[in-house]
């Protein structure tokens, strides 16, 4: 640590700072270690136990694993893989060309399109899933019934969203904003020179795209694909909603069913076995990713040296195709789902808009009921509390841990990084279930409280906010901090005056992303819900189980409106700043 040139100053500062650093690393290790290891331990112990851990430590048993010999388990596995894989492919089909068009061509309306695509963050998976069920289910789907009426087409095409393909389709829609955010900056970073050099080398546009640009963004695309696949693995609301009618189950929806069965007691041991299987799948994906990107130091050359932004001029025909494509993406992700939800929220009972009867009895009753109901007010308070607390707390932990991890190179901080990133491999619904088990077992009175939800979201989203903050921290040169420290400021003052303001944009971006994700979550909330801590996610899930489509729609319209307002405000703010 002590360098020759700075020796006198460092010697004065080092002992005090050294001790402080040691304590902070230890504290961070304990916190993050506890957050991640306690639920994991629950899963492992429960999976090899003859009774749930909260009833006391039982005996070692392989009994829960008889699940594997049941006939449905293989279908479960293939369904899960098909859903995750299909959703990711669909997400790629919808986001990669969009990112390409918006970053590398001279398309008009770039800003508006980009903003609309990112508005997709406001659409909760469960909300989109229900909206698309209303749009495309074989029996009540608005689109299905409309298409059936068209003479020849109706006989040829059979639209039914309540299938594995339909699940993947909805998953793909949900994946668009995140995958776009992960891929677009990398596409932008491929310098125009690399593209133009290919043209000069007699390659056509298509060949240049295939041989030069795609290979250069391949690591980013692969990263987005793997991350999305793990998220899909842990998404239970889409399969649960879309697959409920035909009885299609995947690991995540099965896990939820084991935790909260309609009849009988929850079976934590079998849930833990499914959880372990999910973990193995996620780990396999991560191994795949690191193997594929192991030789990726060669990509470091990209973006070095002079960068030239080039936007390919599109011909008139391609401009039309590109605009149409973007319009389709926004329509299926945003416009159609919102339209059907607004309609459903105005109808007393859902009726597909295939005949005029659907529009005869519209009223705002559902919204009025929401305003009156007592449990709704409580739910809103809970939601606001949980969302703000989780987002803020997670961002602060991410800043602290991120700072330690990027600035101090020691074995202990490497371990800290591994622990903090580990939750990325734990599918969301599993984490919810494991945390539920943990606080059923531990003698802490937080089961069914807001605290347990905050803990769950903190654990689940820590890696994502670390990713958001880490680049921000790495961009800041240590000399900025050192300059402040040497001018006599204390560590805390330095952070407030120098480090903090510099991190603000990255912090805000991460915070907004978290707020949107925590608020719209329908994976963790239903598992941890009790009457006291019910948030909007659990509330919406409850409406689905009751078949109350009207209230579900009204509330989701409200939620999406709030989220869209938040996203748009943030977009405007960040545009004004830079």
């Amino acid at each position: 640590m002590v360098t020759e040139t700075h020796a006198p100053v460092r010697q004065r500062v080092a002992p005090r700072r050294g001790a402080a650093r040691k304590y902070s690393i230890a504290a961070a290790l304990i916190l993050v270690g506890y957050l991640i290891l306690s639920p994991l331990l629950q899963v492992v112990v429960n999976a090899f136990s003859d009774r749930p851990l909260y009833q006391g430590v039982g005996h070692f048993s392989l009994e829960p694993w008889t699940l594997l010999s049941e006939p449905g388990t293989w279908t479960l596995l293939t369904n899960t893989v098909a859903f995750a894989f299909g959703a990711v492919c669909m997400g790629l089909v919808l986001s990669l060309p969009a990112a390409w068009i918006l970053e590398r061509t001279d398309i008009a309306g770039r800003r508006v399109w980009r903003s609309l695509i990112l508005c997709g963050l406001g659409m909760a998976p469960g909300v989109t899933a229900l909206a698309w069920t209303l749009l495309g289910s074989g029996t009540i789907g608005a689109i299905t019934l409309t298409v059936e009426r068209i003479p020849i087409l109706g006989d040829l095409v059979d639209i039914n969203i309540t299938t594995l393909f339909g699940m993947a389709f909805v998953g793909g829609i949900i994946a668009v904003p995140t995958m776009y955010t992960l891929i677009a900056p990398n596409l932008r970073r491929v310098s125009g020179d690399l593209e133009e050099a290919s043209y000069v080398c007699k390659a056509s546009r298509l060949r240049t795209a295939r041989k030069i640009i795609l290979p250069l963004v391949q690591p980013a695309v692969l990263g987005a694909v793997i991350m999305m696949a793990i998220i899909m693995l842990g998404t239970f609301d889409i399969p649960a909603i879309v697959g409920s009618a035909p009885g299609l189950q995947v690991f995540s929806s099965r896990l939820y069913a084991e935790m909260t069965p309609q009849i009988g007691l929850p079976n934590h041991n079998r849930a833990a076995v499914i959880g372990l299987l999910m973990l193995i799948l996620a780990a396999a994906l991560i191994v795949l990713y690191t193997r594929a990107n192991g030789k990726s130091t060669r990509y470091a050359v990209v973006s070095a040296r002079s960068f030239r932004l080039t936007r390919t001029a599109l011909s008139r025909r391609w401009t039309a195709i590109a605009q149409l494509y973007l319009a389709v993406v926004v329509t299926i992700a945003l416009v159609l789902p919102m339209a059907i939800l607004v309609l459903a929220s105005l109808q007393p009972f859902y009726q597909p808009p295939a005949d005029s009867a659907a529009f005869s009895n519209l009223s705002l009753d559902a919204y009025a009921q929401l305003l009156d109901a007592r449990n709704v007010r409580r739910m809103v308070t809970n939601t606001v509390l949980v969302t703000l607390l989780s987002a803020t707390l997670t961002m602060f932990v991410a800043v602290g841990v991120g700072w330690l991890v990027t600035r101090i190179q020691r074995p202990s901080t490497s371990l800290l990084a591994v622990l903090a990133f580990a939750p990325i491999a734990i599918p969301g619904v599993l984490l919810g279930a494991a945390i539920y088990m943990t606080y059923l077992y531990l003698p802490l009175p937080i089961s069914g409280s807001i605290t347990i939800m905050v803990i769950a979201y903190l654990t689940n989203y820590l890696p994502f906010s670390m990713i958001a903050m880490r680049s921000g921290i790495a961009q800041m040169h240590p000399s900025l901090e050192e300059a402040s420290l040497m001018s006599g400021a204390t560590g805390a003052k330095t952070f407030l005056r120098v480090t903090g303001p510099l991190l603000m944009p990255a912090f805000m971006a991460g915070w907004i992303w978290l707020v949107a994700h925590v608020m719209r979550d329908m994976n963790i909330a239903p598992v941890l819900a009790s009457p006291e801590n019910q948030t909007i996610g659990a509330f919406l899930w409850q409406r689905i189980q009751d078949g109350n489509i009207q209230q579900f729609s009204a509330l989701s319209v409200c939620m999406v409106t709030v989220l869209l307002a938040l996203i748009l405000t943030w977009q405007r703010m960040s545009r004004e700043e830079g």
Binding site: Y199, V200, R207, V302
Partner: protein, 432 residues
Amino acid sequence: MIWSRSESTLDATPAKTREAPRGSVESHPGKTVEVAGLYKSFVLGRNRERVDVLRDISFDVGSGEFLTLLGPSGSGKSTLLRCIAGLESPDDGVIRIGDESVADKRRFVPPNRRDIGMVFQSYAVWPHMTVSQNVAYPLLNARARSTRRSSMNVDRDVNRTLETVGLGGYGGRGVHELSGGQQQRVALARAIISRSGLLLLDEPLSNLDSKLRREMRHELRQISKEHGLTSIYVTHDQFEALSMSDRILLMRDGRIEQQGEPEAIYGSPDTEFVAGFLGNINLIPARVLERHGSVVIAELSGTGETVRVAIPRNKELNVGEKATLGIRTHDITIQEAAEGGDSSIRDEGAPHDNRLTGRVTSLQFLGERWEVHVQVGDQEVRLFRYRNPDSSEGHLVNVAFAPERAFIFQDRDAPHGAATEPLPPSSTEKRQ
């Protein structure tokens, strides 16, 4: 015109050889290029202003010629080169490569159908490919169109081209393992492998350190000549331009300011801008007092001194108007003068040389030479000494230069006062 230049004496790298191309196996005719009436503008900035970047550019490049586009940054050199490559489409004008019109009113041939080689300033080598893959890429693309080449031929061509640029045996390496200079060579190999007959280079040496840059200058020219390539080379470095080119095209604000062979353009710059850009020159404001055929008498502002300057007989010059005197730093001699301004002492220069008296204000040792600043009246004169100057700071000195070595430039935007009748060269001659 193509290859008939005399031995250069201006070159900073004396080792450079300027022989006619040796009978090389690869030799094949370079393509000619014709540019006529080219215009290009860009829409810039927030207020969407349209700015002309190229204005009425016309020039020809002969087969096998090494032409340099020289000019300050932002003068439109790269844009011009990119128009020739097809990476920009001109607003107006015609570009012909060989016998084919590649850009005119009706036609625009995209870059991948122009059959050219190009080296980018950033090298633009693809980081995800090995050296061989980078170099083979144009061949494989050409093959996609005419499936003539076998893969064995491709390998052979790649290896031979790598040998040519001095990268023999590096084929299997990843480009990120190479130094900047080596990446530059990969880019060059990629540009010449398909034997297009036209090589475009956009400041290819600007990212290299100065020693490597000097070596590469020589090598680039040699490779281009040995392969009989027509080359268009963009640079803002006057030394590169002077030492490498058959012909220089000096650009300013999107226009061609002057063109000619390096010696010609250095030896007789048309304008103050050209003289200044090629460097090593004192530019001193002056006024033209008299003209006698090819001799002009001018007064240097703020000094009270008059000097004689020899100019071409047919050059137009307005007597009585403001002008600028140019003297290259290496054309000035310096001599200690006796205190009191007696300039009659022994002197290095010829008897009819101009002499100015001034004081040495600074003396810098630069290794192989000294740079001396002499204050003459209100003006400062900069000159180089290659031997230890006897004078030191504060000394009174005489500086001298021959009338044939000085230039006089009429100020372009000087107002043409009614009082001063412009005198065409012919009328002055008659008066004599």
